[in-house]
Symmetry: C2
Subunit: 427 residues, 2 copies
């Protein structure tokens, strides 16, 4: 039975290799960075107002300050950390593992007084469970309109929370039965505050289900996969191979991090641009080849606002060559769009669709005054060596938080410091 | 657009005729009675423990005592009031309107200081909205495994809560957009505490969505019906006729109340039995004709426990003829099953399936020693005159709560007393 397998995995000793644990620590640092950086977003103010109105036991810290019950901290922090849409993505199921699971794990770890090692293992196991369950649900579940970040994310959050609460096997199965009747989240919310809210739902639904199981609730224990269960009712494919090698092989390891504070369609060409270093004054033409799908998504030729710049090949490439840090949120501004240097280069950018490229690939050619052409190609799907990934996340986190704060977070995460130490830094 | 219509209905002046309002008051009394009677159920202890752990603002009363934030009160009271499965049912969509909507309306009415009239209108409008939305979702939604009490119930709770929070039209549409990404509830939980929990989910999801809209949240406003919305993703039929006559004609009026503390399959024959009055000593045979479906549900020939008696034609008919009140929870006991008088009559009961009868109909024949046969037929689908319904609910509520407490509740409900007065009686 699938839920039984999930419950066993949730409570078993963690044998993840060091490389997988290292990637999980990077996702944790990344989550802290994009979460804290999101604390000024409008949706953060709404969630804070809601948490403040309810009040309650000061069990766990909120991003932006304050302490509330674990379930509410998971709801608020899950929502805020997805507000910038700058967190990690896993393409096996197409979901955002960290924003659904880490807020639940951190709130419960803090509330239950877990150690740093226990917290990090629970977060990793929860994220792996979310991805595996998401693969079990399959692509139809996503295509029809469910947001895996909310649905599979709730299962992952439940696993992480239940592990940290030290549930018995029976209680863990009950928690999974409850999360089956509780999990939700629709892709129709994309483009609104409802999208980050789905991440908060995942985290809080997981904490609530685990809490109720701990307190003696009973539920149908095969409600994820059984008759009239979550999978059958939510267009799930029930792909049995989804759990092959569970506990030995870690799908999580292939998680993708975002290194630019703009539309995902611009990332491949920005990575390609990092491989060449033309002097801006020498550039006579910039040619971009990209999958045709992106031409209607992020090809604004001359945007006038910072938001528009996030969807513009013609803007981000000049930004990069002129030394603006595309990992920083405040690099994308109206002033930038009005900068004559940016505009001069912008007019030299040509973008064309190329069917031979995948959605994750881009081809870049830069002509120089001396008649030479620099070329670069990047495929986001290619695995990034750990060291390079680590450096990129460090640069991103430092850009978002400042070097000092990033250093403190990195030290606690790498030293497996107590969750309460991380929680204190959410303010 | 469907959500726009729902939002307008939610905020419009209520023109419900007096008879409809009277039925809504009966449902409110009925909800109070079955809710308070459920306060000793095991699931009530779990929900209280959860609410106690979270704590928070003392905005609204819990069944069984204590005050918590509105959202939590809705969750706990929705769950507890469905614990006995003795609350009302609407067969247009097959759901329990009161347990999903009234706990939300009462918690918000108390929290926002609404008047008794405002509270009662909001509860009625919310229940009508739940039924209409449930009809819009259609039978496939239910058959595939969704519990309309949880799903359509959340929409009704959102409507009631949003009305009491005096949301603007735009906020109400946002609240409906949020409840679309939040609503859940599976029929696979039937037979466990997860079933009443679904009612609590409906109530709390409605309150949460309305609260967030009030605090400035934004969401896709057509997420109930639009592309990748709730209906399309949850096997909804999108039956446009579901909203015909909204505001003029009230589907809610046909709500069914349970008058016996046992399986619904026994109700029709118990109603038939009430039409005849044989002396128990004179009975030589009791023949029941019922829809064949019930033969595998509630036809235990000689149960030994109170729980078994709730699923036994052969037990409930002797109980009734011997003067045991089938509306009382404590009438169904192990001792009753061992009573020689009950057993003597029990052996004279014959039950047979009859395809010509609907699931709501039963035929009863009782042979007497003098050679005569008393016959009676009942159809639960036939509308019950208001006066008779009122008397039956009074008898049920008095049996559950005692006459004094019932009298106090009736006085507050009929006098449209302040919600805080009703809330105080939940203890």
């Amino acid at each position: 039975m699938m839920s039984q397998k999930l419950a066993e995995f949730a409570l078993s000793e963690c044998h993840a290799p060091q490389t997988v644990r290292a990637v999980a620590r990077l996702s944790l640092i990344d989550w802290m960075a994009v979460g804290i950086a999101g604390r000024g977003e409008p949706v953060a103010a709404v969630m804070h107002a809601f948490a403040h109105e309810e009040g309650g036991g000061e069990q766990a810290a909120l991003i932006g300050g304050g302490r509330v019950p674990m379930r509410m901290a998971a709801l608020v922090n899950g929502t805020i950390s997805h507000a910038l849409d700058y967190d990690d993505t896993h393409f096996a199921h197409i979901g955002h593992p960290s924003v659904g699971v880490i807020p639940a794990a951190l709130a419960v770890a803090e509330g239950m007084g877990a150690s740093g090692a226990e917290f990090q293992e629970a977060a990793l196991i929860g994220m792996e469970a979310a991805i595996r369950f998401g693969v079990w649900l399959g692509r139809d579940h996503y295509q029809v309109g469910f947001h895996q970040t909310g649905t599979a994310g709730a299962v992952g959050a439940c696993v992480a929370a239940g592990r940290l609460m030290q549930l018995s096997h029976d209680q863990m199965q009950t928690a999974l039965g409850l999360v089956a009747t509780r999990a939700s989240g629709l892709k129709s919310q994309f483009g609104t505050m409802g999208k980050p809210f789905n991440a908060g739902l995942a985290a809080s639904n997981g904490v609530e289900s685990a809490s109720l199981a701990r307190l003696g609730m009973e539920a149908r224990i095969d409600a994820l996969e059984g008759s009239q269960g979550f999978g059958p009712t939510h267009h799930g494919a029930a792909d049995q191979s989804a759990f092959d090698g569970l506990g030995d092989h870690w799908l999580f390891e292939n998680v993708s991090h975002k290194f630019h504070a703009c539309c995902h369609g611009l990332h491949a060409v920005l990575e390609a641009a990092a491989e060449i270093a033309p002097a801006p004054d020498e550039i006579t033409a910039i040619r971009v080849g990209t999958h045709p799908r992106w031409l209607t998504v992020c090809n604004q030729p001359a945007p006038e606002t910072g938001l528009g710049a996030k969807f513009s090949y013609a803007t981000v490439l000049p930004m990069h060559f002129l030394g603006h840090d595309t990992a920083r949120l405040d690099s994308f501004s109206d002033a930038l769009c009005a900068d004559p240097k940016v505009q001069a280069l912008r007019d030299r950018v040509e973008v064309s669709g190329d069917d031979r490229l995948s959605e994750m690939q881009a081809q870049l050619e830069v002509d120089l005054r001396d008649g030479t052409t620099l070329t670069a190609f990047h495929d986001l799907d290619a695995p990034l060596p750990l060291e390079e990934r680590s450096q990129k996340i460090a640069a991103k986190a430092a850009a978002l938080l400042g070097k000092e704060r990033f250093g403190l977070i990195k030290a606690v995460v790498e030293g497996q410091g107590a969750p309460v130490g991380l929680a204190a830094m959410l303010q």
